[in-house]
């Protein structure tokens, strides 16, 4: 019973840490930098925004709404762990899409057309590029600060062993809620920008593009290295180099190539670029390795 009891009640789970929350939004594409988390409610809610100043206000407002939503309405999902948490998140996104499709004030299922940016057309791309890039930098800095605090340690502890973290009294549910809420805040901000950039949004095709952004962000995060701050950035750049190359030279087979990259990544390269670099050159990342430990290990 001794061993069995632990086995039954203390199953070991691993999950991406909070850095991945930050990582999942990087999407570099040509000259534009988008944030995307793929829930899409934020995108839908971003409608009817006029003028540059109003855009900023609305972004923060939507971010705040999603912040509260993340904090208050996802307790049930946050009790899920590992792959079930991911499935639960997808379920919430699908449910949100259906709900969004019934809200007339945001256009319902038909979606809404966004007003044009009151700037000369030649500045349009540059404006959204700068806005998205600035938001990416701000989010990156916030997450960087976040992970220099106790929050960062707690997120990593939850990643390594959530049951242990709970047994040590860490309020894991609250940490996950706050992590989600912070991620949702930035998603909301970006959603407002994205909606205006695209010019037209509706729940089925634009707000929840699972086959594109939904997969891309996961691929970027995995390729760059989950659980690291710079991994998703590197992943986004690498992913888009590969993507643009295949889209250009292997048109027609681009999705096959993308699928292959994902499979190779998941099966043979789980640690991602940053993980590989950390393992290869630990001292450059401040990781101390005791060479004698290899000999000592197992010699308990």
């Amino acid at each position: 019973m001794d061993h069995g009891a632990d086995g039954v009640h203390m199953g070991h789970h691993r999950r991406p840490d909070g850095v991945q929350l930050a990582g999942e939004y990087y999407l570099l594409r040509r000259r534009h930098v988008y944030f995307s988390r793929g829930t899409g409610v934020d995108v839908l809610r971003s409608g009817r925004i006029y003028g540059i100043v109003r855009r900023h206000q609305a972004s923060l407002y939507r971010g705040a709404i999603l912040h509260r939503a993340g904090d208050r309405h996802h307790c049930g999902r946050h009790r899920l762990r590992g792959p079930y948490f991911a499935i639960g998140t997808l379920g919430v996104a699908v449910a949100a899409r259906e709900v969004a499709g019934t809200i007339d004030t945001i256009g319902g299922g038909a979606g809404i057309s966004m007003p044009f940016l009151p700037l000369p057309i030649e500045y349009r791309s540059a404006f959204f590029y700068i806005l998205c890039f600035a938001l990416a930098v701000v989010a990156h800095l916030v997450i960087r600060w976040l992970f220099s605090t106790q929050f960062g340690l707690a997120a990593n502890a939850i990643r390594d062993d959530e049951d242990k973290a709970e047994a040590m009294g860490i309020p894991t549910l609250r940490y996950k809620q706050v992590g989600w809420a912070i991620a949702a805040f930035f998603m909301g901000c970006l959603g407002a920008v994205f909606g205006n950039m695209v010019g037209y949004i509706e729940p089925l095709e634009v707000a929840f593009p699972v086959a594109t952004f939904g997969i891309f962000m996961v691929a970027m995060s995995l390729l760059g290295g989950k659980g690291t701050l710079w991994g998703p950035v590197l992943g986004a750049i690498s992913f888009h180099i590969v993507k643009e190359t295949t889209w250009t030279y292997l048109l027609g087979l681009q999705w096959v190539v993308l699928g292959l990259i994902l499979i190779v990544n998941i099966v043979y390269f789980q640690q991602g670029i940053m993980g590989w670099l950390q393992a290869k050159y630990p001292e450059r990342f401040g990781i101390v390795v005791d060479k004698s430990m290899t000999a000592e290990k197992g010699d308990a």
Binding site: M1, D2, H3, G4, A5, D6, V8, H9, M10, L146, S148, T149, Q150, F151, L153, A154, N156, A157, R159, D160, D161, D163, K164, A165, E166, A167, M168, G169, I170, P171, T172, L173, R174, Y175, V178, G227, I287, V288, V289, D290, M293, E296, K297, G298, D299, A300
Partner: protein, 248 residues
Amino acid sequence: MAENVIEVSNVSKSFGGVKANVDITMAVERGSITGIIGPNGCGKSTLFNSIVGYHPIDAGSIKFENQEISHLRVGDIARLGMLRTFQQTRIYSKMDCVDNMQISVSHRPGSQSTMFASRRGEIRERAEHLLEFVGLYSKRNLISGDLSFGQQKLLEFAMALMNEPKVLLLDEPTAGINPTLINGLIDRLRRANEELGITLCVIEHNMRVIMNLASHIYCLSNGKMLADGKPEALQNDPRVIDAYLGGH
């Protein structure tokens, strides 16, 4: 007479048809070192899991500082000041030893302000002091998953101390580690009890360890409380001898 910090009364727990604990009653005095022994599969770890809230009990009552805790979750009980360590050592294996220690600070105040606190100097200082206490100071910057099993046991113990618990439940703290480390661990357990005032409740199979360490011992067999008393009395109890040496 010292007050009881843990009171377990008539606790029963079954898993399907398996009766893991049957009508268990025991108490742990504040400031004491209490031992729990019994053959493999007798329900010791199930009792631990029941006490710290890993599963609901079928019947009975569990009190911590006179507060009923049998309905509370693991985290809630930990934040009351009762922690446990695991038979199979559990640490945050991808973090270094100091980070393992720093995140193990008590969350009893539980305010959101501590969530975003920087990794303050005094926390790190205490972490390093406790790593020195368990003999891991020289390994403090190593990734904890790279430590040997015995060292991971010591780290888990230090993490528990970092939390400043009132009661610490240790599930076979000496299992799988060599005699040299065992002697050091016994010494540190005693010091934690005497110097830091932490009440200890220890499951242990190593009779030399538990007889030297505990002031009161409970013996379980087949899910039931077989006997309890002072170590010297229990050592000569024919029921205990029979449970360990006969029939199993």
